[in-house]
């Protein structure tokens, strides 16, 4: 096994070399933050959740067997963190999401010189995403933003790959319809 692979590093952490977890944090805290931000729409909360996920990775390191990918194991924990927060959050998410998405915190391709048309399009899309069901949004985030393959998503969500196919397709359909509905 490649000594620098996620799994071999995580196995070292499991065997007591806790400092090695820093490497994995370096690799994954940004995508993880992205996932959590898209899920919750709240920046500070998402940062706290990232810490929380890595705390759980430490705490439950003995349950990592190394037969699956570290990445899917980590997202599994991240989903649990989201679910634990979920009940108290649900109501505030949509409001938050809109406000936070629309603030200047949004980076990457969202420069001031872009056309107003593009801005409107993006705003509409964010709006549409915020209106999606949790389930649909999650598969879209995992497959689009986290660039995970269907089999990985299936593992993270504890469902079959076939179910992932159906959900992603349905989610894109819903998003498209929502987008058109808002745009018009």
């Amino acid at each position: 096994m490649n000594p620098l692979s996620d799994n071999s590093i995580m196995l070292k952490v499991k065997n007591g070399d806790l400092d090695k977890l820093g490497l994995l944090f370096e690799r994954y805290h940004r995508p993880l933050f992205g996932f959590l931000f898209h899920m919750t729409g709240q920046r500070e909360l998402s940062e706290d959740m990232v810490q929380n996920v890595f705390y759980r990775v430490l705490k439950y390191r003995h349950t990592f067997r190394g037969d699956g990918e570290f990445k899917t194991w980590m997202y599994h924990m991240a989903r649990n963190v989201v679910n634990d927060n979920g009940r108290t959050l649900k109501r505030s998410i949509r409001q938050q999401e809109l406000t936070e998405y629309n603030t200047d915190n949004v980076g990457g391709g969202f420069a001031a010189d872009e056309s107003i048309h593009k801005k409107q399009e993006l705003a509409t899309l964010r709006n549409a995403m915020a209106k999606l069901s949790e389930e649909s949004r999650e598969v879209l985030i995992l497959s689009k933003f986290q660039e995970l393959k269907y089999n990985e998503i299936a593992e993270i969500m504890d469902i079959t790959e076939g179910a992932v196919k159906v959900r992603v397709h349905r989610a894109i359909g819903q998003l498209k319809n929502m987008y058109l509905q808002i745009a018009n």
């Binding site: 949004v106 980076g107 933003f145 196919k165 998003l175």
Partner: protein, 273 residues
């Protein structure tokens, strides 16, 4: 023209989740089907637009916070890194604590016990005296009852009952003259050898009494059973009763005396003199 193709394939194509063969087949269909082409275009537009929906940059201090969390965690694990010795230490503390507590309980209990005992005893002198008197009276009564029982049992026709009566004397510490007389009478006259033997034994305990000794010595001549004669000889030897020599000599003069007993008595006489 209505398209029969599964629309799910469009998403699979966009997401690059198709096998080589699937993709080829789908792309052939796509070239022919305007409906699917349109659908794919719409989906892809959304999909591409999502590329531009980006999350904000995570704060730069996240790694710092992570390190702090990690250090905290390692510190919290520190005592647990040595869980066995910690546990043993705790056990040892319990161990040393426990006997102390037990000792304290014991002492307290003993003190309570002493206190109760003292209280109970302090109440007793007045009533205790009466009790004592009562007990003495009762004892005396029981004693008398036993004597009576014994006396009446000695007159019982059954030999075993008479033996029982004789054995009562072992419970009568200071037998009065009446009892002793009764025993001596039994020793001399009872027709059962066993009863007489038991009686002889019972009388031994009163051998200090001059009256009893005299009765025993006199009884020697009256015994016709070799068993009794032998027992008498043993007894006199034990008591070192010199007065019995006379009675034994008289006994030797009897013609029908058992030969072995004769020898024994002669021996006894020499020893006593």
């Amino acid at each position: 023209m209505k398209c029969e193709n599964d629309k799910e394939q469009i998403t699979l194509w966009i997401n690059n989740e198709m096998t080589e063969a699937e993709r080829n087949a789908f792309e052939i269909h796509l070239a022919e089907c305007a409906e699917c082409r349109q659908e794919l275009k719409a989906e892809q537009r959304i999909w591409n637009l999502m590329n531009e929906v980006a999350a904000p940059q995570a704060s730069a201090d996240m790694p710092v916070r992570f390190q702090a969390m990690l250090e905290d965690y390692k510190e919290s694990q520190q005592p647990r890194s040595n869980p066995v010795s910690g546990f043993i230490e705790k056990l040892r503390q319990l161990w040393t604590l426990q006997p102390g507590m037990q000792m304290a309980y014991t002492i307290v209990l003993v003190i309570i016990g002493l206190g109760f005992g003292y209280l109970i005893n302090r109440q007793s002198p007045n009533s205790g005296y009466a009790n004592k008197q009562e007990i003495t009276a009762l004892n005396k009564e029981v004693h008398e009852m036993k004597e009576m029982m014994m006396l009446s049992l000695l007159e019982n026709p059954s030999a075993s009952e008479r033996i029982r009566g004789v054995s009562y004397t072992s419970e009568i510490k200071s037998a009065n003259k009446e009892v002793i007389d009764a025993l001596l009478y039994t020793l001399d006259n009872d027709q059962n050898v066993n009863v007489r033997l038991v009686t002889l034994e019972a009388l031994t305990q009163y051998a200090d009494d001059a009256h009893v000794r005299e009765g025993l010595v006199q009884s020697i001549g009256k015994q016709d059973s070799p068993l009794l004669q032998s027992a008498m000889a043993d007894m006199m030897l034990k008591l070192q009763e010199k007065r019995s020599v006379q009675s034994f000599k008289k006994l030797l003069q009897q013609k029908d005396l058992d030969n072995s007993i004769r020898g024994k008595i002669e021996q006894t006489i020499t020893k006593l003199i």
